[in-house]
């Protein structure tokens, strides 16, 4: 149910919609129903940018792991959401799709301690998994090269494909790259790219620190315990 939303003008051309949302949804034979109050902030350049959504009646625990720090919902991979929005720019579709799925998932997790849609990846792994499916590639560095080409490079179909296959782009991932570049969602793809890159950088730095600490520990060992090739 999604009637009774009030509309008011926000700053910078934004539109703020607030109202009740009665969830009555089922998945795999498990029906859940709950009443929420939602606030949607629709950006001035909608549908080129994604609306933000928050719940205002206090049903959702502020410590829930899939809330951003400002309390808005992490509805899914930004690139995926924006692609869907550009293909079907409809707030009703947003409410009946990602928002319904999010609220159902929240209730299920809260009541039964697990997520209802199986062991789907979370965080950066989840974002990578989405682009893995999109590009049909399982190798993460390859996915990053392709996503980087979408976000930051001009497309040249006759040049080698960014994936490194040796084929020209036109005969490899060219069609997908071109489609994504023309989708209008490159800002969201860039955001996903930055998120992944930050996480990978953090992981790389952590690995370097761990390796240095391990090396220091090994060097400090008495000679008889030290392997010959450590230095």
């Amino acid at each position: 149910m999604r009637t009774g939303f009030k509309r008011e003008a926000g700053q910078q051309g934004k539109v703020i919609l607030t109202g009740p949302y009665s969830l009555d949804a089922t998945y795999n034979g498990v029906r859940l129903a709950e009443d929420f109050d939602l606030q949607l902030v629709v950006p001035g350049d909608y549908p080129a940018s994604l609306p933000t959504v928050r719940e205002t009646s206090g049903v959702i625990d502020p410590g829930y792991e899939h809330l951003y720090l400002n309390g808005t919902f992490c509805l899914g991979v930004r690139g995926e959401l924006l692609l869907a929005q550009l293909e079907n720019p409809s707030l009703v579709a947003l409410l009946d799709g990602p928002i319904r799925s999010y609220l159902y998932s929240y209730l299920f997790r809260k009541r039964y301690g697990n997520y209802p849609f199986g062991d789907r990846a979370h965080g950066v792994r989840g974002i990578l998994r989405y682009y893995e499916e999109l590009f049909g590639e399982a190798d993460f560095p390859t996915i990053m090269k392709l996503l980087g080409a979408v976000c930051f490079e001009n497309y040249r179909g006759h040049l080698p494909c960014p994936c490194g296959s040796g084929l020209i782009a036109r005969k490899c991932h060219g069609e997908t790259i071109l489609k994504l570049k023309k989708s209008g969602a490159t800002e969201a793809f860039s955001s996903d790219f930055t998120t992944i890159a930050c996480e990978l950088t953090y992981l790389q730095q952590s690995a370097v620190k761990r390796e240095q600490a391990l090396r220091q520990t090994l060097i400090s060992l008495p000679g008889k315990y030290r392997a010959s090739n450590i230095d």
Partner: protein
């Protein structure tokens, strides 16, 4: 919805999960036939039902399939043996071998450590049975409470072969004794209804067995057993679900403080309170046997019990609030999707929930 309407939903759901009179008669004839068969093959054994079929709290096993088999617990009591002078194998082997090697039961029987099961394939639309035949001997030396000593037994278990002291019939009798004052309320009316619906089976009210009648207390146990199965399945923790005897004992204990005309919903409310207090007390003595029914429970088991109590509380609250969507979801939380829909009034059941399309992975 008011309390009477909610109670009607609970009773209807429990009734839909219950064994039908014709199935009850069929099950009875099956275990009696096993006894006769063993007798005809020179094995002296007294066959008697125990567990939920005896306490009148049987529910169809939780399953995705409509035709889930009813589990019927049966004691195969062998007179003339005692645990001091006989091994479990001496008592049990002849029973198992006779059934497993026979043309009649060989293909239907399967041996387990605690019992031998005989499975009767689904007959028509009502589903089949699985008789759990527990071979045992009378054993008054067990750690049983004195007033129930006559029914205490030692079960013959395998792997490793050992005697397992127990008193399942005593526990059933304890529940039946507790249930009697609740069952006496409107018993004649309920049995008249059973007679009206089963004219082909019974000629008069006197013919309708008491074991088919269901008091509000028995209905409450049936509701709780299904709610338990549904909740723990949703949690992905079915292996942590409290045993049926735990549910039965809790309801038996809370009944002490309830008047004769207590409704199933009020039993559920008392159960919720008791379940919450158990999470703190962490102990539930078996009323007929010297053991703690929760001794194997870990922290997660108690945490889940508290969550289950919350789920029942929420479901009753949502049924009370009257909103069709929440009420429908509450009935399905208690009984599962299929039975929950059928238990609700037609007008409420007409509200169809949306189907969730799961979104792809989460972002940060």
């Amino acid at each position: 919805m008011n309390e009477i309407e909610i109670n009607n939903i609970l009773s209807k759901g429990a009734n839909l999960l219950d064994i039908t009179p014709s199935m009850f008669e069929e099950a009875t004839s099956h275990y009696k036939a096993v006894g006769e068969f063993l007798g005809n093959h020179g094995i002296d054994a007294d066959i008697s039902p125990c567990g939920s079929i005896l306490t009148g709290t049987v529910v169809r096993p939780y399953s995705e399939n409509e035709d889930a088999y009813f589990d019927i617990d049966v004691l195969v009591n062998r007179p003339g043996f005692d645990s001091a002078n006989n091994t479990p194998g001496e008592v049990r082997d002849p029973v198992d071998e006779t059934l497993l090697k026979s043309d009649r039961y060989g293909n239907m029987a399967k041996e387990y450590d605690e019992c031998i099961t005989v499975e009767y394939v689904a007959n028509g639309i009502e589903g089949g049975f699985r008789l759990d035949l527990n071979t045992c001997i009378d054993d008054k030396t067990c750690k049983t409470r004195q007033e129930y000593a006559d029914s205490s037994v030692s079960m013959a278990w395998r792997n490793p072969e050992r005697w397992h002291g127990s008193n399942p019939r005593g526990l059933c009798q304890w529940f039946i004794d507790k249930n009697e004052r609740f069952a006496a309320v409107e018993r004649a009316q309920r049995k008249a209804r059973i007679l009206k619906e089963n004219r082909s089976l019974y000629a008069s009210i006197e013919d309708v067995p008491d074991s088919l009648d269901r008091s509000e207390m028995q209905r409450a146990v049936q509701v709780l057993k299904r709610s338990r199965d549904e909740f723990y399945h949703r949690c992905g923790k079915s292996e942590k679900a409290p045993a049926s005897c735990v549910v039965t004992v809790i309801i038996g204990k809370v009944s002490d403080h309830l008047p004769n005309n207590t409704k199933a919903i009020e039993f559920l409310e008392s159960f919720i309170q008791c379940a919450r207090s158990l999470a703190a007390a962490r102990s539930l003595p078996n009323p007929v046997y010297d053991e703690d029914l929760l001794q194997e429970w870990d922290d997660e088991s108690f945490a889940l019990l508290t969550l289950w109590a919350e789920e029942i509380d929420r479901s009753l609250g949502n049924l009370r609030c009257g909103a069709r969507a929440k009420g429908g979801a509450a009935a399905e939380a208690i009984f599962g999707s299929k039975i929950g829909k059928r238990a609700m009034p037609v007008t409420a059941a007409a509200v169809v929930p949306s189907v969730v399309t799961p979104l792809k992975p989460w972002s940060m």
